[in-house]
Symmetry: C2
Subunit: 203 residues, 2 copies
DNA sequence: TTTAAATTTGACCAATTAGTTAAACTATTT
DNA sequence: AAATAGTTTAACTAATTGGTCAAATTTAAA
């Protein structure tokens, strides 16, 4: 056996993301990691601390990418295309992370100092300002109609993430609970969503 | 004091929706309702049973509306406008229900027989078929570009619901945690989203 | 008013759960 | 090899939690 500390973290990830903080059991994490429960407390002091590590990791994995893309070079259209494709691909690999993060944030938006980091970082990067500027340029060129950066941003993120968060429902209503069809649908969205957004704003 | 049974249900709604099944405590529900904990079990046999009532109610409140709108009269554009406005308004009044329903569904998509009802109902109504037909008509008229009904449906729902599910993040990143600005943003989306969608598909 | 039924409560219980502790075991150092 | 430090475990604890039950109280029926 090697590196129990890492095995615990992976087990914790699996259990916390599947069941949420309240639904997760330290014993289950221990079983999943194939070790004694006391070892959890040996490496990570408490359930809260272990959860914090998992949550911060999950959160980080979800958001820095946003900033990166909107700092890169290229036209607005190109960036939207790149972002949507990259973002959907990322979530495809960890499809339950968005629901996990959002649920925990909704339960207590306050007790999470990490959020402040993300926010201040977003403000430092002036994410909204940069997006506004990109929009303004295209509006001046007459290539797109005017749209508030906040609305466009929300739309891009909504269209990328929501189909994962609502998987059980969409799979049921749209695809007769067929996993493959649902997966194909997601795959198609990598280009479909970008096209949808660009069509929506371009003149 | 009147109608404890109803008071319990309302208290249960509040607590379950805020904390989820695992995070909810029967004692807290009793306190919230201002009655003895034993009374919960007198009216509703168990935590599971009480939860089931709350969940089914919440679920019903979220989905039948979808079907209604797409069975009404009017052009595709009119229906989209009406749906988005009505749907966002409904969620505005109960903004935490989507996260609640989605989280519980993700935790165990299997043990929910209700989902079958919604699915079969959607199939009886042939929701997708009707939307497909509406799209086909407009494509023939040359008013819109072709788009898969599944994709359009997912886009409409995503754009309507996701900003509520991601409220803590959007409020933080976009609006400096200002509640009023966030609310105004949501208010604007009632027309903004429909416009976004229609622009995206119309030629 | 008396009786019976429905409602409400406090006290209690068994099971679960996060966390502790001291002992056993392993690897490393001297 | 002996000692030391690091790792792992089993047994245990205190607190929480869903649920029960019999008694008390209120409401409705006779």
């Amino acid at each position: 056996m090697i590196d129990n500390e890492q095995k615990i973290l992976e087990a914790a990830r699996k259990v916390f993301i599947q069941k949420g903080f309240d639904g997760a059991r330290m014993q289950e994490i221990a079983d999943e990691a194939g070790i004694n429960k006391s070892l959890l407390h040996y490496y990570y002091r408490s359930k809260d601390k272990l959860f914090e590590v998992v949550f911060i990791d999950a959160f980080k994995g979800l958001f820095p990418i946003i900033e990166k893309v909107f700092t890169k070079e290229g036209t607005l259209f190109e960036r939207i295309e790149q972002f949507v494709k990259a973002y959907i691909s990322i979530i495809q690999n960890n499809p339950y992370i968005p629901m996990f993060v959002l649920h925990e944030l909704n339960k207590n938006a306050d007790k999470l100092p990490l959020l402040f980091n993300a926010i201040t970082k977003a403000k430092e990067n002036n994410l909204l300002g940069k997006l506004s500027m990109l929009i303004e340029i295209e509006v001046q060129k007459g290539t797109i109609r005017p749209i508030k950066a906040e609305q466009l941003f929300a739309n891009i993120v909504s269209l990328s993430i929501f189909p994962f968060v609502s998987k059980p429902i969409l799979k049921g209503i749209l695809f007769d609970n067929n996993e493959d069809t649902y997966n194909q649908f997601i795959e198609n969205r990598k280009t479909e969503v970008a096209e949808f957004i660009i069509n929506s704003i371009k003149k």
